[in-house]
């Protein structure tokens, strides 16, 4: 099948396109979409995008932007063109993601116990122990199954050859899964015929899997566990997701003031009195969990929570302290970490990474700032990043100063030719860069979402996919190619 379906779609040189092969042929998993456009024409596609926007507005799918001290709710941006991935490829990818999370959890557990990996010199001890994400009060604590990071949102990108690489491990409070689920709901309403026409794996079991995982952490197995989602509140930028997940799982959405700790037991203030809490799915950062343990000035925490957790009376997911493995410097060591704990080779590779704390690598980075992407070790949301080829001399100079002042805090990676997918821009299909964030769960069992949230940079040529910075999204279709 030719690419005439996508009009005069022009691929970007050196970039892998998700839907179109280098020779212009449509990839097999995208055949149904191509047929649809052939049959109905691109005018219909534009109309469906309009319908899709209305659906999103009617469903109230939104995200919150902070701007000038105000919170503004924006409709969630979703592109009408889905991204397709063959199921055979996804199987291998999801095995790699599970492998990675299993190893990272062994690593975190080791760091808070024997620190074998530091003693064996695989990861430099000071790198871990001096990190602000290493929480000394967590030492010696044993969360259920030895698992600290129960929910992980891993960012995947493809290189020019189309190979998936891990860009980041988000182990603190990864967000976005609600949009993955809502994208699918919207697409089913707007393209019912496409879902009838192809074998697209469903994604909607995630909330139940999440609930099962959380329930498996209960310190009182056998009882009906009381699980709550802890949110910073209605003004948080991810509040939509917090309330979405609480609803989908049928659990309470609590703020710190709804919880109290007495005699190392956590209670929920309900209409009928206090109810003992077994598991807290927290969506607040480590340092805001318990002012007594971590940060006296926090108003977001629950005094005494850490003690209750340390005594094993309540489980917290992700466990406090799991952010120690979510650090862009530690990231560089993950292949060794996998090998060390599992005796396996990583199934998914890292993006090549230069550590600025190493003199030789730092010198290379400083000499090539115009070619590299430089990232602070501990930021998220795409903030503080320098994209070399698109930066000014002045920005490069500022980054050089910052690196010299605090080399531990920076890593650099080559600018990737991120993969693209046809995206409806002003009524025409154009290639736009995208990434993929699957979500991996670990409690008693390991689970990986079928696909994930595809985020797309809507600006031409842009590599920044974050919704806070003008990114959009696509529904991700894992299409059965094994029948």
């Amino acid at each position: 099948m030719g690419a005439k379906s996508f009009g005069h779609y022009q691929q970007i040189d050196q970039c892998f396109d998700e839907l179109v092969q280098a020779d212009g042929q449509i990839r097999t998993p995208a055949a149904a979409i191509a047929r649809f456009i052939d049959r109905h024409g691109s005018a219909e596609l534009i109309q469906r995008q309009e319908q899709l926007n209305q659906t999103i507005s009617a469903m109230g799918v939104c995200f919150t932007l902070y701007s000038d001290g105000n919170n503004i709710d924006r409709c969630w941006p979703l592109d009408v063109m889905p991204r397709t991935i063959p199921s055979s490829e996804w199987q291998k990818t999801s095995a790699g993601l599970k492998q990675r999370l299993a190893a990272l959890n062994l690593f975190i557990d080791d760091l808070y116990h024997d620190q074998r990996i530091l003693k064996d010199g695989i990861v430099p001890a000071d790198l871990v122990l001096d990190s602000r994400n290493y929480l000394a009060p967590c030492k010696g604590i044993s969360p259920r199954y030895g698992v600290w990071a129960n929910i992980c949102g891993t960012d995947l990108v493809r290189d020019g050859s189309g190979k998936f690489l891990v860009l980041e491990d988000n182990l603190r409070v990864p967000s976005g899964v609600s949009y993955m689920l809502e994208n699918r709901t919207v697409m089913k309403r707007v393209f019912p015929e496409l879902f009838a026409d192809s074998f697209i794996y469903p994604v909607d079991d995630y909330p139940h899997q999440l609930w099962r995982m959380l329930a498996s952490l209960s310190p009182r197995p056998g009882d009906v566990p009381c699980i709550v989602l802890l949110t910073p509140g209605v003004y948080n930028s991810a509040y939509f997701e917090h309330s979405f997940l609480a609803r989908q799982m049928g659990i309470e959405l609590a703020e710190n003031t709804d919880l109290l700790v007495q005699d190392d037991i956590v209670y929920l203030k309900t209409l009928h009195g206090l109810q003992r809490v077994d598991v807290i799915y927290r969506r607040v950062d480590d340092v805001f969990i318990d002012p007594q343990a971590f940060r006296p000035d926090s108003v977001l925490g629950i005094p005494g929570l850490i003690n209750a957790w340390a005594k094993g009376n309540v489980s917290i997911a992700n466990a406090p302290g799991s952010g120690v493995a979510d650090d862009k410097v530690i990231y560089a060591y993950v292949p060794e970490i996998i090998n060390y704990y599992l005796g396996e080779q990583p199934l998914i590779d890292n993006v090549p990474t230069y550590l600025c704390l190493d003199k030789k690598q730092r010198d290379y980075v400083l000499a090539n700032l115009d070619k590299l992407v430089v990232k602070p070790a501990n930021e998220s949301g795409g903030y503080g990043i320098l994209i070399g080829p698109r930066s000014t001399k002045e920005e490069q100079q500022q980054m050089a100063e910052a690196i010299k002042a605090n080399p531990r805090n920076f890593i650099a990676q080559p600018t990737l030719a991120l993969s693209t997918a046809p995206t409806l821009c002003d009524g025409v299909l154009e290639p736009r860069h995208l990434d993929l964030r699957p979500f991996i769960l670990q409690g008693r069992d390991l689970y990986c979402t079928t696909g994930g949230l595809s985020r797309v940079a809507l600006k031409k040529g842009s590599l920044v996919v974050n919704s806070s910075q003008g990114g959009g999204s696509k529904d991700t279709w894992i299409i059965n190619d094994e029948v």
């Binding site: 469903m59 003031t257 709804d258 203030k269 309900t270 209409l271 009195g273």
Partner: protein
Amino acid sequence: MLLKSLDHIFWLGRYLERLDDTARLINATSHLLIDSHKDSQFSWPLLLDVLGQNGAELLSGLPASDLTVEQQVMGFLITDVDSEVSIRAACTALKQNARTVRQLIPRDMWEELNSLDLFLQEHCQQLQGRQHRYRLMNEVSRRCQMVVGVLDGTMLRSDAFDLFNIGRHLERADMTTRIMDVMVLQQLQPTDIKRPRFRWTSILNALGGVESYHYYLAHQNTEVDAVDYLLTYADFPRSIAYCLHRIVASAKGLPHGAAILQRIWQLQDLLKTQSLSELTTGQLHQLIDEIQTGIIELHQVICTPKLEFSTDLSQQMSA
């Protein structure tokens, strides 16, 4: 359900009903006023007064403009987001409460609320002529009913459901008394006689109760009128008696149900002990005042369940 959510789900019910009833009040009075003689005592600012605002003061603060008093009052009641009693303000508060207890609301109801909000944002921006206004207010009411209908068909029967319904019926009782007050106040100055002939038709129309009023009249062996009907006829879903019944039914399962019931009995007594047919307009106005005070007290009882969290934990439930 979280204790904190009590307030929000209760207010969600109140604001939804307020939206509906404000639209009904506007239509009821518009019709009445259009029919009124030029020398009538009844004036547009009265609408603001019965909603607890000082109509004269609000309007005197406005710069002289080409707008008629009617338009200015409608501004306060419909389009003005800063006005406490406007439809748009009620909708903003509705949305805010819904967002806070989003996890308690079924998806279908959320979408219906959203569509209501989008509709109001689009159509209640600017003042319109009377004919357009009439249709718009009808549509607001209809959309409020859609939300309730969807909720009724999809929401779990839970504390949240009960509190939502309590909120709705408390607000409805309150608004029914306010709508009645418009009629009564209209008569206050010219006459002090018993049982003046109110022009109730437009009111009953707006409350959707004309036919059932005639049914009511046809089945009573004493002489009654719309006052008895709106206050005591428990089969009519907008009467005070009906609203109180519904609150009783919904409050039974709540931890502070007993306190709520006690307060409702006091209100019911107030209606029983009065011989309604003997009241002058002045006394009727006073009775309406007393009912409104009772409703405010009832609100406070509902919103402040006496629960002690930090004392003896062993007394508290643990699941």
